[in-house]
Each structure stands twice: as C-alpha cells, then as structure tokens.
Amino acid sequence: MKFSSLLQAGVLCFALAGLSVPAMAETTRLTGSGASFPAPLYTTWFKDFGRVNKNIQINYQSKGSGAGVRDFQNGTVDFAASDSGMSEEQIASVKQGVQMLPMTAGEIVLAYNLKDVKELNLPREVYIDIFMGKIKNWNDPKIAAANTGTTMPDQEITVVTRADSSGTNFVFTQHLSAISPEFKEKVGFGNSVNWPSEAKMVKSPKNDGVTATITQTPGAIGYIEYGFAHMSKLPMAVLENKAGKYVAPGGEGGPAALAGAEFPENMLLWVSDPEAENAYPIVTYTWMIFSKKYNNPKKAEALQKMIAYGLGEGQKIATKAGYIELPAAVVEKVKTAARNIQ
C-alpha cells in the first residue's frame, strides 16, 4: 500500500516535470562556475537580473577559479569566473577564442586578533617579515615603531594562510613578491605557494576557514577578502603603500588604486603594487571569461545583457557588498571589449 502510493507520487512528479518542459522552453539558461571571491556579488547580480529578465536564468557555482577555468575549457559551462584570469596555454586550448572581462575588483585585507589593539599600522617590510616567519612576536620593535601610542602585547604571532589553492593566494603572494625580492625568491607567487613551515604558521581552508581561525586565535593575523573581515567584524591592519602612506581598507583607497591603469589587449591587468598616493596596496580585478563565439545566438545575446547589467546596475551594488566599483574609464573599455562576444 505504502509502496504503491510512493509509486503514484513518483509518477505524478514525472508527469509534472513533463508538463513544465514546454513552459521552460523559451527560457535561456546560462551556467557559469569559478571564483568564490566575487561569488556573493555575482549571485546578487544574477538574482536581480533574473527578476528583470524573466526569460533568462543564470546559474553560478562558486567552486574556485581553477575549477571554473577547467569547466570552461571542457565546455561544461557557458562562462567562467577567475581571480587569476587564464594563462596563454589555457587560452590556446579553447577553439572558439577567449574574451576575459574584468567585472569587479576587491581588496585583500590583513585581519588580526588582538584584544586591546584597535588600530594597527603595518609598514611593508614588517608584513613581509611576518608572513615569512621572521617577526614572531607582536611586541617586535619594528611593529612598535609604527604604532606609537599603542602598547603592543607580548604575544606570539600566529600566521594564518590559505590551505587550498586559490585566487586570493595568487593576488596576495603576487603583491608580496612585487615588493620583496626575497619573498619572490624564497616563496614565490601562485595559486598555492610553499609557506615557511613554522610551529606558528597554520593553514585553513577557504576564506571562511581563515576567518574562523583568526577569530578563534588570540594573536593571529591572516589575509582574507575585505567582505569576509567586514562581515565578521574583524579588525583590519592599515597598510603602508608604495608612496609610503598608511591606508585603511574599505574606503577611498580601493578606487584610487585602480584609477589610471592601462589595460592590455587581453584585458588581463595586475595591480600588484599601485602607485597612487592614497591607494590601498593589495587590490585586484576579477574576471569573467567568455567564448568569443557561441553556437547558440540566444546565449550570446543573454550574456551580452548580463554583462551590460553587471557594468551598469551591478557596479552600484558592488560598493555596498564590499567590492570596488570599476572606474568609469575601465567600464567603457570593458564595454568595447565585450563586443567581441558573439
């Protein structure tokens, strides 16, 4: 009896699914996957976008930059998102051609956990030394010198880095490599790097893992995206930039860092050490990756609409969500480049 009712329910389900197919036929479905860094913003975009364009449905899976690019190469998704773009080699493997478009930008912050330190200034050589395991205590004279007026506690520094391979790693280590030849030689940069093995250096998976570990460990410091630190109310270090000024994350420092940069042909541009006087030092663009030619013209059209939305309405949401709005000049360039997608 039970079984037969179960069977009936099953049959009903199938029938319903069958019925709904013709209704869905007009909907254009787009799938994308990739970077987790801009995922909260993209998901908001796609939800809002879907509300206005009822016949376009976008599904985005945040599985990480590398995984997204691989999906894109295998042709399982219509577009990918990556914090580190695509390499020449990877681009060559896609027959239809690749168009990368920077869609938003963000800051990477050094969040810390020190009970009585409300504001922390970190000179560039100090944060390099911390992440190379050379400065081991918060009362190090080099830290104290930059923070007159604050008593730095006698506490060991626990450095929290990312355990998994990630675009955040890439951007952060690229910045450190750009400002320190020693870091470049000993650790280097990439989606995953070989951090020094010290008793006080731990690794946690994903942005959330690093955030949780910092929150739970007195004396910890680690790098995460601005949004995560902001959400969990972790204090963020004020960093010295190339011009020698101390700039806090989350303010005008981000847009200032992005202004005046020249994009190359492939739209892949790294701002590994911005020069502007009031620029926050660790910023990055993040890209959506498209084919230049889509076999289904409806898909190309829907993607164009989505890009236009992201560059228009989407940029206004970006600032609220903790990302950096693209400068107007950049938006124009991206719009021109987007015409390559057909």
Partner: protein, 319 residues
C-alpha cells in the same frame, strides 16, 4: 466456500516448490553472486583508475615523494612524508583516546551498572554521534573545543615543555584538537562493536567467574575483558580505519602545515586533508601527484587492516 479455501491453504504447505519458486531461488542466488563480485570489481576498477592516473607521478618522482618534506606546486617539488606522519600520528592518538573511552563505555553499558532503560538511552545517544556530519565536527572543533583546550594546552606547554609532546604552544588548529575530535568520531564505532563483543560472552563464563568468588571488577578485568579481546581488537582496527580516512574535520582542525613534529600542539597535515584541499584547483601534474598520495593512503589503510587480521590470527583470538 470458506472451508474449501482453508483446505486449499493447508494443502499448499507441503507442496513441492513450483517452477516459479525454483526460478526465484536461482535468480536470487545469481543476483547475490553478481552483487558480491561487483564489489570486488568496483574496488579493482577504483584501484585501476587511481593507479593509472598516478603513474606519471610515480615515474617522475618515484619513491622520493614518500620521503620528501616539501610541497611546492610552483617549484614542482612534491613530498608527502609530513602527511604520512600526520595521518599515522593523528590516527594513533585518536585510537588511544577513542579506544580507551570506547571500551570503557562498552563495559559501563553491558555489565549491569545501569537500569536497562538508561542503558538503551545512552547507547542510542552514543550511536547518534556517528550521524553528525564531519563538517559540523570541524566547526564545533574550531568554535568550541579549541577555546576550551587552549588554557590546558598553555599549562602543559609552560610547565612541561621539556617533554617533546608539549614542546610548542598551541596556536589554534593543531594535532591535539584534531586528534581529540577524531577520537570522538571513532567513539561510536569502537563502543558499538565492543558492546557486541561483551554481550557475546556466554553467560556461563560470567557465572563461573562469580562462582569462583571474584569481585565484580576482577570478573570484568580478568575474565570478561580477555574473553571479549578479539571483538574489542576488531573494533579498534575498524576505528583506526575510519580515523585514517577522515577528511573534512581534520582539514579544518589540523592546521595543514607540512611539518613533522612530536609536539601535539604543533600544526600538522594529513593525506586525506591534503587530497581534499588540493583537488579542486589542481593542474594535470598535481592531479597525478595527488592520485599517488591517494594510493599511499589506500595502501596504509590496507596494511593496517591486514596487520590487524594478522595479530588476531597470531594471538589465536577469534572475532
């Protein structure tokens, strides 16, 4: 009419099997055979697939990978000795803790210390531990366990730092919180199977022990425990198997740092955590290396199980 029906039914009891029965019987036998063999084939297929993808790494790095200590994707240097060490060390610590508590619980719940109803309730609660997802254990470890054990760890570190096990201070994630959570995770397995072992002891043996004038504790420690030893050992081997392969909770708690340290407060890494964290973004070379690491983990688990079976055979105790 009713009489006729009952007559029919009574006759049907002693009927020879019909062709349908025979067919069903044969079909069932064939089906069970197919399923049994498909398990063996599935295992072989998994081995073939993982092994096949690991071959490029085996060719390039060979056994050197097993003794290397650096994992640097950019320099293409891969060594998994710290992970092998971490896997064995964390599992062993978990086994000591989980084994002790698991067997104690089994004794407590089977030797009439409690009213029946309480025994049943407690047993269900312990078995419920097995249903908690690994990620939840990991989160619980980070947010609840680590803050609790931090003062204890600091105490041991300041007063007993001359003992190598306590030589570093706890930074948060590390071997000790990982092993502790792992021991809770294997507790239901160890406790459940040890309970079965204690229940399987023939009542005569218990009565004989009491008849000879033993106290309750003498009976439990000198008679019951040795009699149930085979089953308990089986429980420990199964628990160890689970500990070796546990992934997500460890990835969140162990600190994922490539170092070999006796200190239980230092961060470490395990094979399963390495696999879980590096697969999603791995390139071709790295995937091959990770498959190699997966083979090593498989081999370790296999060896541990075989060793367990061997010890059971040698000591002559039966499961």
């Amino acid at each position: 009419m009713a009489e006729y029906n009952s007559l029919q039914r009574s006759q049907s009891i002693s009927k020879p099997p019909t062709a349908g029965d025979m067919l069903a019987n044969r079909a069932f036998r064939v089906l069970t055979l197919v399923f049994t063999w498909s398990i063996v084939l599935l295992l072989a297929y998994i081995l073939y697939k993982i092994g096949g993808r690991a071959i490029p790494a085996v060719k390039e790095y060979g056994l050197g990978m097993l003794v290397g200590t650096t994992w640097d994707v950019n320099a293409r240097t891969f060594g998994i000795l710290p992970e092998i060490w971490g896997t064995l060390y964390s599992s062993l610590l978990a086994l000591i803790l989980g084994g002790f508590f698991g067997v104690s619980i089994a004794i407590f719940l089977t030797q009439n210390f409690l009213p029946r109803i309480l025994e049943t309730i407690l047993r269900s609660i312990i078995e419920l531990l097995a249903a908690i997802p690994s990620v939840v254990y990991g989160l619980w470890g980070i947010f609840v366990l680590i803050p609790i054990i931090r003062p204890v760890a600091d105490f041991f570190n300041t007063h007993f730092s001359w003992i190598p096990f306590f030589s570093t201070s706890l930074s948060g994630p590390g071997m000790f919180p990982a092993a502790l959570v792992l021991s809770i995770m294997i507790l239901p397995t160890v406790a459940a199977i040890s309970q079965d072992a204690f229940r399987a002891i023939p009542h005569k043996i218990t009565e004989a022990a009491y008849g000879m004038g033993t106290t309750r504790w003498e009976a439990i420690l000198r008679v019951m425990l040795p009699t149930a030893a085979g089953g308990i050992f089986g429980a420990l081997v199964l628990g160890l198997g689970r500990a070796l392969g546990e992934t997500m909770a460890l990835a969140m708690l162990v600190g994922n740092s490539n170092q070999i340290s006796l200190s239980v407060f230092a961060p470490a890494n395990t094979l399963a955590a390495l696999l879980a964290l590096n697969f999603p973004e791995a390139g071709d070379t790295e995937i091959s290396v990770l498959m190699f690491a997966a083979c090593v983990l498989l081999l370790i688990t296999l060896l541990v199980n075989m060793l367990g079976a061997l010890i059971i055979n040698k000591t002559g105790i039966k499961r």
